[in-house]
Symmetry: C2
Subunit: 302 residues, 2 copies
């Protein structure tokens, strides 16, 4: 019996796919997540009460805002494309330049960024203490409202924002008809062209940095990892983005330069892989990318 099990495990490992499905559920602290959800949708987080997390991470719209650059307080425009909050928990680091090691550290970024929410945590803690949040935090956290607890609650909510059961995940789980023949061909091309070298794992990306413009120089205002490390060799290295729900998160790339999947697939093939790619191949890969759209979680509804 034991040897049959071992052979089964061995064969599973041998024929494992480089992409793994999103789980149906991950454990969260429900009370903290509920508090975090309230904060996520509350504009109280911004200095002038105009911008919430949901402003740039619209949960009915792919978890981002569909804009090239987001607008923060006073209508100020940022200079980087909002990544989706969906499945962000599975990324190895947060932000395009990876400057936050997890969701808790990520929260501080937009809250204090002068062109996003432009708040300070001291001011925010004081503001929240004058509201019904005081009691709510006291119930959930021993030390009540603190910077750490605000971030912790929002991060706990964000952990619920996962999108299981994408057609491609069903296919990976064994339902061979969950995706179309064209999508299957697209997946084969995705592997054969080398896209898979960087877009793999549970988030089909989100787990390594690579250079923007491997094969040819590409202009970019933002400098990627260099902004964090100030090491010359990190210039233009960005976190490889997740392709989960990519059909819902236009525009594309860290500066939102492309509106369509067609354009970005063509660009990636040329600049990241030096591949000649036909329109027929692009169509198939784009069809495959559409199979990566999962089910929105119940927690995304207000």
């Amino acid at each position: 019996m034991r040897s049959v099990l071992l052979i089964f495990i061995f064969l599973n490992l041998l024929y494992a796919e480089p992409i793994t499905p999103i789980p149906q559920h991950i454990e969260v602290d429900e009370a903290k997540a509920a508090l975090g959800k309230e904060l996520f949708f509350d504009t109280i987080l911004s200095v002038d009460n105009t911008v919430s997390c949901a402003t740039c991470h619209d949960l009915n719209n792919g978890g981002d805002d569909g804009l090239r650059f987001s607008f923060g307080v006073d209508g100020k425009e940022g200079d980087i494309n909002s990544p989706t909050v969906y499945n962000a928990v599975f990324n190895f680091r947060q932000f395009w330049n990876g400057r936050a090691k997890n969701l808790v550290h990520q929260v501080a970024g937009p809250v204090t960024n002068p062109v996003e929410m432009a708040s300070s945590f001291n001011a925010l803690v004081q503001k929240l203490k004058r509201t019904a949040y005081k009691n709510k935090f006291d119930k959930v956290y021993k030390d009540g409202i603190t910077k750490e607890n605000i971030a912790d609650a929002i991060a706990e909510y964000e952990k619920t924002l996962i999108t299981p059961n994408a057609p491609f995940d069903k296919y990976l789980r064994g339902d061979k008809n969950a995706i179309t023949p064209k999508q299957k061909e697209g997946y084969m091309l995705f592997k054969d062209k080398g896209c898979i070298a960087c877009h793999h794992g549970i988030n089909i990306g989100g787990n390594l940095y690579n250079k923007f413009g491997v094969m040819q120089y590409v202009s970019s205002k933002r400098l990627g990892r260099y902004e964090v490390t100030h090491q010359e060799e990190d210039k233009y290295y960005f976190k490889v983005p997740s392709l989960r729900n990519v059909a819902r998160t236009a525009p594309y790339l860290h500066d939102g330069r492309f509106e369509s999947l067609d354009e970005v697939v063509k660009f990636m093939a040329r600049y990241q892989l030096g591949q000649v790619i036909t329109q027929g191949e692009i169509d198939k890969i784009v069809a495959f990318l559409h199979s990566l759209s999962g089910e929105l979680p119940a927690s995304a509804k207000r």
Copy 2:
């Protein structure tokens, strides 16, 4: 005239290759490098005066030791393959798990590693002060023999260990006959198969981390980046190694599991890219890899 120049620059950027040549020379402090060279070859660095940097980084033998795992003091065997010291200055981080951000930080690793040199810097500083090194350090460094100055001198010497003028670099610089037609075909395959996605830049690698076993699970005792960050998502992510002088640095991979380039190319194609590859294609890629062997610098001679 200016517009001609701009067009020239534009075309150069447009048709730039994803690999750039090793420069002929990089600036170093000659006095420090000379001191560092003496230390590099001196077994005084190890606790029992048996092991020098050159023990595992044989400069006449690809800059590594040709062993699967190196031997340190008391004949102790390590558990990771020595990477070459040649062109290490161009790597974005040092060590397979990237735990040192540059050569200066790297030096401390082997000196204090219990299975390598097993020394302590306090003991080493005291030992060196009783030798002719005392005067030599005093001449070059205001504060004489310190941990920092030992590392600085060795790192300064290592900066001289670059290997320019590989046939492939000559080809990149415009000498179209510097590599054979078979090597050119190998380079095309190297790009078409997707190897280039990770092996690019001046060191053809050495500038990002990726997962060991992208397409299928591969066993590995060492855990890569996880050893540094202790983050689950960093498990099995290793620095993509440089392919400079790869024909001289067998055995291959972080655990030296392969003796030949044929084997490692086949393995990489399957486990990192999920590519079917024929023996004819392997031959061409291996031919290309042989074009990456550069000239040894004068400073490598004792």
